[in-house]
Amino acid sequence: MRVIRNYLVFLLVIGFFVSSLPAEKVKPTYAVVGCRIHPVTGPVIENGTIIIRNGKIETLGPAAKVNIPEDAEVIEAQGLEAYPGLIDAYSQYFLETKSPSGSTAQRRPPFSAPAEERSWDKTNFLVLDNLKFKKTTLSSLHKAGITTILVTPPQQIFAGVSTLLNLNGEKFPPMVLNDKVFLHLYFTTSRGGYPSSLMGTVALFRQSFPDAQHYALQKKTFLRFPAKVSRPEYDAFLERLLPYVVEKKPVVFDCANMQDIKRAINLIEEFKLNGFIAGANEAWRVIDWVKRAKNPLLVTVDFKPPLGSRYAILGEELKKKAEKEIYPRNPAELQKNGLTFALVSGKISNPKEFIKKVTQAVEAGLPADKALQALTIVPARLLQVDSYLGSLEPGKIANVILTKGQLLTKGCQVTRVFVDGLSFEVQAPAAKGAQAPSVNLSGKWKVTVVSQMVTMEMTMDLTQEGSSLTGRLTSEMGNWEISEGTLSGDKLTLVIAANVMGQDMELTFEGQATKDKITGSISFMGGSAEMTATRIPDKS
């Protein structure tokens, strides 16, 4: 009896050790066959084979020239396209944004004494220490073909240090490619303290960089003449600035509008920083500056004209046109001017929306191959990982995505992604189980949303084409677009791009629909609310 029990314990212990063996030992070998390969750095290969072994691309080429190893798991990819995994070089996925401790800080009016000294200094904020894994986020990234992301810190003047992740599983440490990529800087203010204005922020930058230079000089001189020079007093903030000001490690300025771009360029030039420009959806308006300064660009595909821009304030008509036609040309305009740039999601929090917007930039004149480079090899170079990421080449890390239909065209679907040679099958959207819609929901609806906190009335306009729906929700809070909608049988799913008090967020509605009534629940940021809608009869 005791023997048996000991034996069981033994087995359990063995089991534990086996399961915790390093994953690389068991990384499988794959042969992806029959696909069209888009290496990005070389010509397209029809009917190609990719061999993935031990996390790397072992070889790739036309089917006739590549032998399939015996130990490989063969993945039939006939009719599929293979691309390098996409890189989003400016995002905030998985970032756990902490609200300031206590609510008084937020309620404090702008004209008050500094709440805490240097409240703007978050140079010690490491993104890696502030991440929270979410399976849904991972799968939505994979579904969009994104395998590598730079996660940037929350907005603050000296915001913190970003982390580069290769999305190879559910734990962060194995994902990290670089835990200190950039120091991020924003033209924002410090709520409740100094600086309380944009001009104060610029002044703070203009004071801080020479302060760091001076601090470095003090330290250096002290070490050379310890007997003659007094020891400089330790300064944690300046200490953390030294790598960026003295060693010229890269910093990123977040540029929300054309004036910000000029401000950033002025600062980069005045203090000889290794400066990147991020955001920059108004780069087309200061193209001569951008061309002259030649700073690396992380260009967002958020096409909303910035607050205060003439395209935002001179009437609703111009604003709409700007978002639909004018700002989407920004990447094309940069490309025409011979500039290289990475395309990034920035404020867009939905990977699918990000890719959709890149597609929109292509429709607005950006050549598709340049767009693809802006999502692969260019960000890889800017992030200094191009020796092992950013294209399909033997020896590079096996970040490979398979798609049905060409990337950046409508209807393209990612079917499988490999990250670090690990295969992730992407759930096909409900397509398989999809049923023909049982009703047509086009028309006007009166919507009531009831949560624990609040009851809200809205009107909803829906347009149904086949099983897909588009439309908008109108309420006191503004107009919210329905970015995605599907009706399968009587099952309705709507994704709503909402803006609540200036904050963009995504709401998902799931429920059932009849000809005149929709019921279900709406979920947002971890909460949910009941939503019902009744048809407003067409009077005419």
Partner: protein, 438 residues
Amino acid sequence: MKWRKFVGLILAMVWLGLSPLGAGQDLFIKNGTLLTITQGIIHGGDILIIDGKIKEIGQNLTPPKGIRVIDATGKYVMPGIIDSHTHVALSGTNEASVAISSEVRMKDVINPEDPAIFTALTGGVTMVHTMHGSANPIGGENVVLKMKWGKSSEEMYVPYAYRTLKFALGENPKRANMMGFSAQPRYPQTRMGVIAIIRREFAKARSYMREWERYNQLKKNKKLVSFILPPRRNLRLEPLVLMLQGKMVARCHTYQADETLEFIKLSKEFGFKIGAFEHAWEAYKIVKELAAEKIGISVFADNWAYKMEAYQGIAYMAGFCAKHGVLVSINSDSGERIRRLFNDAAKTMRYGDLSEDEALKLITINPAIQLGVQKRVGSLEVGKDADIAIFNKHPLSAYTRCEMTIIEGEVYFDRAKYLEEQQKKAAAKKPHKKGGQK
């Protein structure tokens, strides 16, 4: 097609961005009543503008071939109006979290897309001195801009104007009218505190300046140079050092006569220049002192008593001070009143007995002198920038209207054309469908 237009626009913007600064346009203004300000009135006068500068003024000039001609028959032509104190075209006005914020520069936050720029043009304003607010005893460095609506901030910037630093005395810097807004009271809380903190700051600046002078002396000694460190740069004190060196002037927001005199004393103590006093509703009480010190004022025509320290204002102030030898300008302090400075100037004829010429000076050459730009703008004279406003009636008439505003020979506002565009836009909009239909 639309796309081509867009590219054209971009190219035009790039070209404008690269073109040498100040390269203006050619224009011929024909047969107007020219209110030159400094050289009397020319009836039936013409102005020839070449490269944005006034080339010739007189009667019966011949326009060069191919030049754009503007017929000013029956109209009044005056130099572009200059607003010596406003806060338009900026992203932010006050760095109010601290009492001393001399490190901030309005130059860093120019907003070329502020619609108030267009509003200014509709009132004939071509140049503004746009300033830090009055929340702090020492605010920030102000900036002078031309109202080139649609152009970049660099093209609007006027580099040849005085560099000016904003100071403020009285209720605003002691946050007297901010009860309930400030979570905590801030030093200074009294007028004596305001003057004291400014004095303290100048004392700091003086020793900072000497620290640098000492360093620059020591640096010459080759034996010492390797371990002598330069002082830490202090951007808050640097503008004050420039003032001590006479390279920057004070523009001081003030109300009461006593604090105004205190500030003059302070300027003598430290040897800095005062460009002008702002608002200065009690200036009429110290008109002799101001005239003797040759310190100008930039004021409202009326509209006083909006707070305790403004109760002793009088409608005769601007006119009275001007008659007694003080350099007076009328300012807007606003993105709205900026479009009717000519009305405000006219008030000094009714209250203060100024002549037409004297009244017009308050919004043209006088503010130009206060900003140190009188050699370039402020009157219609050969060689000056062609910054011009055209009115349908005499600009001091209550029935007048600005018809056209020109900066460096380029028309930035044309009322007739603007109205036409607006009507076209309105007509292009689809008419509302009436009644239900299916």
